[in-house]
Symmetry: C2
Subunit: 318 residues, 2 copies
C-alpha cells in the first residue's frame, strides 16, 4: 500500500462535506475554500508525539479522538464553529489495522460536528500527529485580553480528571479490563475530552475573556491575567472536581490536580456578574462553576496568596 | 527557556504582517483572519522528518528554507499568492543557536514574500517540521484535472538537480568547503528551491492544468493524466537539465534524474499551443520548456513507450 492508496482508503472518506464552505481542489496541490459572507477564519495547529504526549502502544482510535478533540478545544475557546481540519501524520510503518482504528477515532468527531478532513500529508518517521483545525466566526472572537476587574471567573465541567488518568494509562494499554468504574471514568475524560464548542458560542455574547485549559488552570489563568493586565483571584474551595476524582485521590490531591494538571480541555472564562444567569440558562446541560473574581493588579492569586510557585502548567521544554 | 519564551524570542518576530489579511488573536488560542472580498483560501500541509526527508545534522537555516519553500510550491501550483503559514515544530531539545539559524532560514522567505508566520505549536520529540501554507486566490484555481488533448506539456526551470544533490549532502554536512562549483550549484537547488509563485499566477489565465514536481516528473505527470483522463506523451530529448548536472552526471544519468528524482519543486503544466508565446513573454526571467503533448488516452508515455515501469516517484511507504 503506497501513500496515495493509504490516503484514498483511510482518509478520503473523512473528507465529505455538506457544510457551508465552498470547497474545490481537495486532493489537488491545495484545498481551496470560499468562506461564507461575513465569516472570519480561525485556525490553530497542535502536535502530539509518541512517548511525549501519549504512551507507545496507545489505542489508535482513542489517540485520534483525543488529538482532534484537543485541537478543536482551541476553536471552542475563540467561540468559533468547527469548519474543517488538516492532518499531518508521521508513521513508522503502514499498519492497516492501526490506520483503520485511527480513522475510526477521527470519524466520530467528523460526524458529530460535520467537520471534514480536507487535506494532509502522510510521511514515514516516529509517530507524530499534527492537526490544524479551522473554524468560522461571525462575531468578534473571544480573546484572552478582555477580563475586567469585578468580573466573575468561571470554568466548565470538572478539573483534574485527565491529569489523574495519566497513572492509569499504562495499565489500560496492557489490558482494558480490570479497571474500576471510577478509573474508567478518568480514562474517558483523558481519551475523550469534550471540546466545549456550544459553550464557546454562547460565551461570544457575554464573556470578557476565554481560554481553554490544556496546560493546567493556574497556567491558563496566568495567560488571561497577563493578556488582560488584571489579577485573577481564585478560591480553591470552589474548584469543580468529580466525585470519581475525589474518591480515588482524596481532597488534597484532587485539588492539586485541578489546579495544575493539563489535558482537561475545559474552558476558563470571565464575565460581568449580571450576565451569569443568562449564560447558565443557555447551556443547561453543562456544569459551570464560579471559581473567583477578577481584580485590579497582576498575576494569579489562590485563596489570597500569590500563586506563582504553584504554576506547574505543562511546559514542554522544562 | 520554556515554550513561551522560545516562541516569543524566535518565532513571534516572524509574525509581523502588513498584508491584506485582517488579523487578530495571533498568540491567542487561534489566529483569526478575515479574507479580502472575493478571495478564496488555499491551504496545504507538508511534513519533513529528520532521517527521512533530511539528514541528521543538516544546517538548520537551510532546512527551514527548504521546508517552507517546498510547502509554498503547492501554493504556486494552484496559482495562489502566499498569505501566511503556521509551523508545528517538534524538537529533541532547546538549542538556541539551532533555533536562531532555523528562524533566520524562515525569515528569508517571510521577508521576500511578505509571508508571515501566524500560529504554531512547539513540542518535544524527534525532529519533525510540519508547515501549513495558506494562500489567496481571486480566480478559479489551477487544478490537475483540466488538461486537453492537443495541449502542450511544459515545465519550468531544470529538472534533476535536487535529486543529484542527495549524494552530496553528507559531504556538505561535514564541511561546506571542498565542493566544486557544480556541486555547490546542485546543493543550492536542493536546499533553496524557488517556489514558482509568479509563474503560477501567470498560468491562471492560460494553463489547463498544473502540478508542482515534488515527487518526480513521471509521477506528477501520471497525476495530471489520471485527473484529466488524458495521456501525457513526453519527449526525453526535450527535458531541461542544467549544464552542471550534465557535467557531473553525464547525459544518461541526468535524464534519469530529470524523469524520476523529486525535490525540484518546478511546475509541470499544460496549455493550448496558441497561448505559449504570451506566457513566455509574461515571465521573461524564467526558463520554460515544452516537453511533450497531451493526447487522448490514459497514462504517461515517454518517447512513445508507456512509462509505467519508469514511475519511480518517491513513495513514502514503499
Amino acid at each position: 500500500m503506497n501513500e496515495f492508496q493509504l490516503i484514498e482508503r483511510f482518509f478520503s472518506p473523512l473528507g465529505q462535506t455538506d457544510n457551508e464552505l465552498f470547497v474545490t481542489g481537495n486532493g489537488d496541490d491545495c484545498t481551496v475554500l470560499t468562506l461564507p459572507a461575513g465569516a472570519s477564519l480561525c485556525c490553530s495547529i497542535d502536535t502530539m508525539v509518541e512517548g511525549v504526549h501519549f504512551l507507545k502502544g496507545a489505542p489508535a482510535d482513542r489517540l485520534a479522538y483525543r488529538s482532534l478533540a484537543g485541537a478543536m478545544s482551541d476553536l471552542a475557546a475563540m467561540g468559533a464553529s468547527p469548519a474543517f481540519f488538516t492532518l499531518a501524520l508521521t508513521l513508522p510503518e503502514v499498519n492497516e489495522a492501526w490506520l483503520a482504528r485511527f480513522a475510526a477515532g477521527l470519524k466520530k468527531l467528523v460526524d458529530a460536528y460535520n467537520f471534514p478532513l480536507l487535506g494532509g500529508d502522510t510521511t514515514k518517521g516516529p509517530l507524530c500527529i499534527s492537526i490544524q483545525v479551522h473554524g468560522l466566526l461571525y462575531a468578534a472572537p473571544l480573546l484572552r485580553s478582555g477580563a475586567q476587574a469585578g468580573d466573575i471567573i468561571a470554568v466548565s465541567g470538572t478539573l483534574g480528571d485527565a491529569g489523574a488518568a495519566l497513572s492509569l494509562l499504562e495499565k489500560f494499554n496492557m489490558k482494558s479490563s480490570g479497571l474500576s468504574q471510577e478509573e474508567q471514568y478518568l480514562l474517558e475524560r483523558y481519551y475523550s475530552p469534550s471540546p466545549r464548542i456550544a459553550l464557546g458560542q454562547a460565551l461570544l455574547s457575554c464573556a470578557s475573556s476565554c481560554i481553554d485549559i490544556s496546560d493546567g488552570l493556574l497556567a491558563e489563568a496566568a495567560h488571561i491575567a497577563k493578556a488582560s493586565s488584571v489579577a485573577l483571584s481564585l478560591d480553591s474551595d470552589k474548584l469543580p472536581v468529580s466525585s470519581e476524582l475525589l474518591f480515588l485521590k482524596g481532597k488534597e490531591r484532587a485539588r492539586e490536580l485541578a489546579l495544575s494538571a493539563g489535558d482537561d480541555y475545559e474552558l476558563l472564562f470571565t464575565l460581568a456578574p449580571e450576565k451569569w444567569e443568562v449564560l447558565v440558562a443557555g447551556v443547561p446541560e453543562l456544569r459551570l462553576s464560579q471559581i473567583g473574581v477578577v481584580q485590579a493588579g497582576e498575576g494569579v492569586f489562590l485563596d489570597g496568596l500569590r500563586a506563582q510557585n504553584l504554576l506547574k502548567g505543562y511546559q514542554h521544554f522544562e
